[in-house]
Symmetry: none
Subunit: 414 residues, 2 copies
């Protein structure tokens, strides 16, 4: 089954909202093993909607519409499809009763145009709307299935899950399972990763391997199809192993993991606490960790030592170090990590010092970063980095690097 | 000019990301008075991309592509457009130098496929990428303008604003000026704001007034059209004055201002420094302020006193206070603000303590927030709030409230 998603609504073309319905439906259809080859967005305009449907008919056998089922004049999806597939619109008694009940319940007066919402394509399977008035519907004509869903996500999403998904599962001839897994990497660029696994990428078919880069990380989405879910998982395992053999040292997690959730999980698993001295990063490392509800166990706190004054007064960095090596130096990063660990009484002290830019600092150029990691009974390690990007990118990459380095240290400690 | 937006990327068809680029570009084009009639999303597939371009050519004279300019095999937008419009791809020397400089600066090895990013359509206007490697480009062939932009929003958005928008303005035949201004409000809800200016909203025509709510703030976008830019600005001024008369006390800024940039601007204008004690907010207040390049003048630093241990050891909160009133209390907020001011030697001390949730703390429910503001020679003020939302929303609203409260205090001090 090849699907095209057509979202109807001028608010999308004006940029008032993003087409998140297409994202939701794409995820859902991918899980069902239905290919989605095109998304189309069209305004509340009969002529252009007809045009979009005519094009979709040439390239899809499942066309899913979102939006344009409401009571107002500019809601015209049903009317347009009815004309195209030459079907009448008929009142769905159950939908009408439910609309009437809604008005009775909320003690509001039902207007004539609200009845319009109970109209469905004659002969279609009606999809109940548990969170609104306009029902959805699905109808197959000449080998093409037309599915009409409401626009508001809080109506559309549950309608899809509860009623549209089972309808589609019934249509799917063979029950091919689609299983996917996202591998998350840090510390390797997209092009380097692709070079390392070039042959795997070239001969991919099942599973498919899709790389995606963003925010200093790279992911590989593996997607396998098989009639058995267990076999599909086995296919994923095999491909993952082949990838890990090449670039396993950069793999930090799977699916919805982030470096921060992963670090929190590992800290809690090891029963370790952490505290951060943040100059360069101004508090963002601690802020990202404390977004996670379980943070209070592992995060002791931190010192945002943005000025040398605070480095000296709160973290006891000798003024000689600041004057000779400078605040942006290996020595300073080392002492900051060790001292914040002591001041906050944590197992692990981590420090971030560097130049976020745009201007150089202490004669060091933007992107110069030192990260210190101090633990009990081990030598403090300092990572010297040169990062690219604007202020925010440099800071983001620095705190992610910090997470990754602590994760490595925790892994080595086991 | 009629535009169609074509987003290229299988990650969109798999639902891994939403097509927020289309939303951004639609807003931008609407402001320029350019109609957008279709959005199309297509995967990393030459045949289907060609199909999409052929269709767009029949219904648009401006086709804007996002995505597919990267270094990897599945990035094929440039190659496909080049074939369709029968142009060569040629190396853009400036882009190549900037890519080489990036690799030199970050001491990484440039791979052969990175060079591919410097290829542009022969004869096109090159649009600089200030935040990444792939340049954009624009080329008009047979009356149709093809504009190719990178996929990552943080590269695409600034490229559009800085280089693509001026290019399009130059193309627009009739120079009706569209001038717009965004008024930014804090501390008033969207429906209350709309009620206060209901009559203005009802009789709006030129300028138009568009409210938008998000992240605890409300904005009004005023858009005026006139053949003269000066007259358009006058229309904006008049409408702004009428609005300010009603709700001026909630107005904090304009256009790209944020509460954080505004606070930084006011701190620097007053020559004042600030330090924060962050329990609830885990460092995010200081992190948001230090994103701004001029932060080093005004931000002394901060203490992330996530645990009571750090509150006692670093900020000298008496254990009696923590045991009786608790960490989430007016008294604690007051002392935290005063002590962080002293410890970091700042003019203003601000503190955030509260319950981010999801679970209650010290018998206080999620959303309970105390913000303290301490200055020299004035009584410390403590704001007791009850905020709604999840962890991140509560933290975001708290730090914005903190900014707004300090702004008010600075304004009163003049």
């Amino acid at each position: 089954m090849n699907a095209e998603l057509i979202a109807v609504g001028s608010e999308l073309l004006l940029g008032q909202i993003a087409n998140t319905n297409a994202q939701f439906l794409s995820q859902q259809l991918a899980e069902l093993g239905i290919n989605v080859y095109f998304h189309t967005v069209v305004g509340d305009n009969v002529h252009r909607l007809e045009q979009a449907v005519n094009i979709a008919q040439t390239r899809a056998n499942l066309i899913i519409f979102t939006g344009g089922l409401g009571p107002t004049k500019d809601d015209l999806t049903k009317e347009t499809i009815a004309r195209i597939v030459k079907r009448e619109l008929v009142i769905d008694e159950e939908a009408l009763r439910s609309i009437e009940a809604y008005y009775a319940r909320t003690k509001r007066t039902m207007t004539e145009n609200n009845k319009k919402q109970a109209l469905v394509l004659s002969g279609s399977v009606v999809l109940k709307n548990d969170y609104g008035m306009a029902p959805g519907m699905a109808l197959t004509v000449d080998g093409i299935t037309y599915m009409l869903l409401p626009g508001p996500p809080k109506e559309m999403n549950p309608m899809f899950i509860r009623y549209a998904r089972p309808f589609l599962l019934g249509k799917l001839k063979q029950h091919e399972r689609i299983e996917s897994r996202v591998l998350r990497f840090f510390g390797i660029g997209e092009s380097q990763l692709e070079t390392e696994i070039e042959d795997l990428l070239e001969r991919q078919s099942n599973p498919t391997i899709a790389p995606l880069a963003g925010d200093g990380e790279v992911t590989l989405r593996l997607t396998a199809k098989h009639s058995s879910a267990i076999e599909a998982q086995k296919l994923l395992d095999e491909t993952e192993q082949a990838i890990v053999k090449r670039v396993g040292q950069y793999l930090y997690g799977y699916n919805e993991d982030t470096l921060f959730t992963k670090l929190m999980e590992r800290l809690n698993a090891h029963g370790k606490t952490i505290a951060a001295a943040e100059s360069l990063t101004g508090g963002r490392f601690t802020a990202e960790l404390t977004v996670i509800p379980s943070a209070s166990k592992a995060v002791k706190g931190g010192i945002v030592c943005y000025t040398n004054e605070v480095k000296e007064r709160v973290l006891f960095i000798p003024s000689e170090i600041l004057e000779t090596a400078g605040a942006v130096s290996e020595q300073c990063a080392k002492l900051l990590a060790e001292h914040v660990r002591n001041v906050c009484q944590a197992d692990i002290g981590i420090s971030f010092t560097g130049v976020a830019g745009p201007d150089p600092l202490e004669g060091k150029q933007a992107g110069t970063v030192y990260i210190g990691i101090a633990t009990a009974g081990q030598e403090t390690e300092v990572h010297a980095l040169m990062l690219a990007g604007d202020r925010e990118t440099i800071r983001t990459r620095a705190i992610k690097y910090g997470c990754f380095a602590v994760l490595k240290r925790l892994a080595a400690a086991v």
